[in-house]
Symmetry: C2
DNA sequence: GTACGCCTGCACATGTTGCCCAGTGATCAG
DNA sequence: CTGATCACTGGGCAACATGTGCAGGCGTAC
């Protein structure tokens, strides 16, 4: 479950140069190819590395506007709302949370005007009582994992 | 900038089987290898595909708790706060937003108790006036891009 | 009609993968 | 101490993929 230092280096290396092969990886790490391969396999079957899917930039796809919407759900409608939101392509992510809202979702849109359409589509559903939206202006820290990997592979 | 149907199929294919090679890809798509290669190169230099970094699961690293914190910042302290948050490994993502809060950040922690430590570290900084945190219970829609790619590659 | 971009199909040298093996050193139970 | 297990090394092999280059077809824009 926890990862050791070599695992950490593997992940960092892959993060920096994702298209690297196992052989090149083993050379950089100074271990035998079999070792690198075994470690990588283990990380994947452990679920530490979930995959190597392409990281697609919504902005480059024509969706430069990101927003977060906090939703309040009518009692007992959670499952319906989840199913509804899953059908909206502009909903990139959905969490159920504690706190003032019941759900938090990440949206994208083609423009601020288009965001209105997306929000209408998201909110135009019976189980949603209230929604409050925050439009993202800047993204000073894009989704990252490397500092955490470093932390995890040092401490353990 | 916009992507066509073939680009869309390339991304979908890569999302499903990320470790696929260009040759295999061209076979599946029914195009020449050079074409697949050229398209892939273009998608990457366009920035549509930002990379193929490993998708690491924080839970598998020992950080099973996720939370979102909304921060209110003292006027003019934005840059300092951003720099501060960038140094905290448990801050996976940071956005500046319109709306009630000024910033929204995604946090992870080793446990609910550990979340307190993380929040203290995040909030224990002069420019932050107020923070409200929502702990994630479930994640019915994990970060996804495929429906959007489908939409974008059909419509254009 | 001509230049251009995009695609096809082919070829080559080189590098990589998946798979096999034998051997070493550390750890641990009996 | 003995034997078992495990992770790692280092090597070898056939099959396959990659980067690259090139000639030619086809539709579009001007």
């Amino acid at each position: 479950m926890a990862i050791d230092h070599l695992d950490g280096r593997i992940i960092l290396l892959l993060a920096r140069e994702p298209r690297i092969g196992v052989l090149e990886m083993s050379r950089r790490l100074g271990v035998a190819r079999g070792t690198a391969q075994a470690r990588l396999d283990r990380l994947q079957s452990n679920g530490v590395i979930r995959g190597f899917g392409p990281q697609v930039d919504p902005a480059a796809l024509g969706y430069p506007v990101t927003a977060f919407a906090t939703l309040q759900i009518r009692q007992g409608q959670g499952a319906d709302v989840r199913a509804h939101l899953a059908t909206v392509p502009e909903v990139l992510e959905l969490h159920t949370t504690t706190g003032t809202g019941d759900m938090l979702c990440r949206l994208v849109a083609r423009s601020n005007a288009d965001l209105q359409r997306v929000i209408d589509r998201v909110v135009g559903f019976d189980g949603i009582v209230r929604a409050s939206t925050a439009i993202v202006m800047e993204n000073p820290v894009p989704l990252r994992i490397i500092p955490l990997v470093e932390q995890a592979s040092l401490g353990e």
